[in-house]
């Protein structure tokens, strides 16, 4: 944005984190938090090669909600699977072709996959065109791919790339 305030989103976020850390809303802490929220990005500026632009905040919120819900469900499902008969598991490696290109979007997608139902993103192809996913228990591989693409990739594409 500009040299004095390189990351306008980051500053309030860090100030917020500061207040969380201190468990305090004292005015002194708010000032200090803002100060740090301004100073730290200045120092870390070189580490952020490109600007992060988040276009659709509403999509982001919805996506977050979906993910949190999925995490809850996934955990229940995985818990159930672990407590059950390990032999009945049907693990599989599934290749998810990627439409997203943005680095951050790919990373968030991979992370999301890791956080949710019985899946771990195991490998991103060198050309970044596909993601290898290991799933704990799979009925239908295509369905899984479709779910991932629709439920996570699409909103991410919207958030980061449109």
């Amino acid at each position: 944005m500009n040299r004095l305030l390189p990351h306008p989103i980051l500053t309030p976020m860090l100030a917020l984190v500061w207040l969380l850390l201190n468990n305090s809303m004292a005015p002194g802490q708010i000032v200090l938090g803002l100060l740090l929220g301004w100073a730290i990005p200045l120092f870390t500026l070189p580490f952020w090669p490109e600007q992060v632009r988040i276009r659709h905040r509403r999509t982001l919120l919805r996506f977050s909600g979906v993910v949190l819900l999925d995490i809850l469900l996934a955990n229940l499902k995985v818990a159930w699977l672990i407590l059950g008969q390990p032999r009945t598991l049907r693990p599989a490696f599934v290749v998810v072709p990627l439409d997203v290109r943005h680095e951050l979007a790919i990373s968030v997608l991979a992370n999301t996959i890791c956080l949710t139902p019985g899946t771990v993103s195991a490998h991103l192809s060198e050309d970044r065109l596909s993601l290898l996913v290991h799933a704990l228990d799979v009925d239908d591989q295509d369905e899984l791919v479709a779910t991932i693409k629709a439920r996570y990739e699409a909103p991410l594409k919207e958030i980061f790339e449109c």
């Binding site: 468990n23 305090s24 818990a79 693990p91 490696f93 956080l115 771990v120 290898l132 290991h134």
Partner: protein
């Protein structure tokens, strides 16, 4: 602390402990590395998450002010746990650890040549 809070706390604590336990149980029980990986990275995220919520509630109720710094630990975990899981899976694939399901074809590592050493 009223009964409702205590009940909520108890439930949260129990849920957290159970998920933590199940995660480790999966780690101990499951048949190959790839399936074992699912246990802790997921179950424990929620497990520790529940415990952290319990803690936040507890200190907000008992302390003089709102205690939300536990959110930070959760935030950290939610960012880092998937990366760890991803890297561990990647390492396992690289080592071609035996799997219950057929391993995918080369992921690139075997085909690589010395030239890939360049940083």
């Amino acid at each position: 602390m009223n009964d409702a809070t205590e009940l909520l706390l108890s439930l949260l604590v129990l849920a957290g402990a159970i998920f933590t336990f199940i995660g480790s149980l999966g780690l101990a029980r499951l048949g190959d590395f790839y399936t074992r990986l699912h246990g802790p990275t997921k179950a424990t995220t929620l497990g520790v998450g529940s415990l952290l919520i319990a803690s936040a509630v507890y200190f907000s109720v008992t302390g003089e002010s709102l205690s939300l710094h536990e959110v930070l630990v959760a935030l950290f975990l939610f960012i880092t746990a998937p990366i760890s899981a991803h890297l561990m899976a990647k390492a396992a694939l690289h080592l071609r650890l035996t799997s219950l399901t057929p391993l995918p074809k080369e992921t690139g590592s075997e085909a690589s040549s010395e030239s890939s050493r360049n940083p």
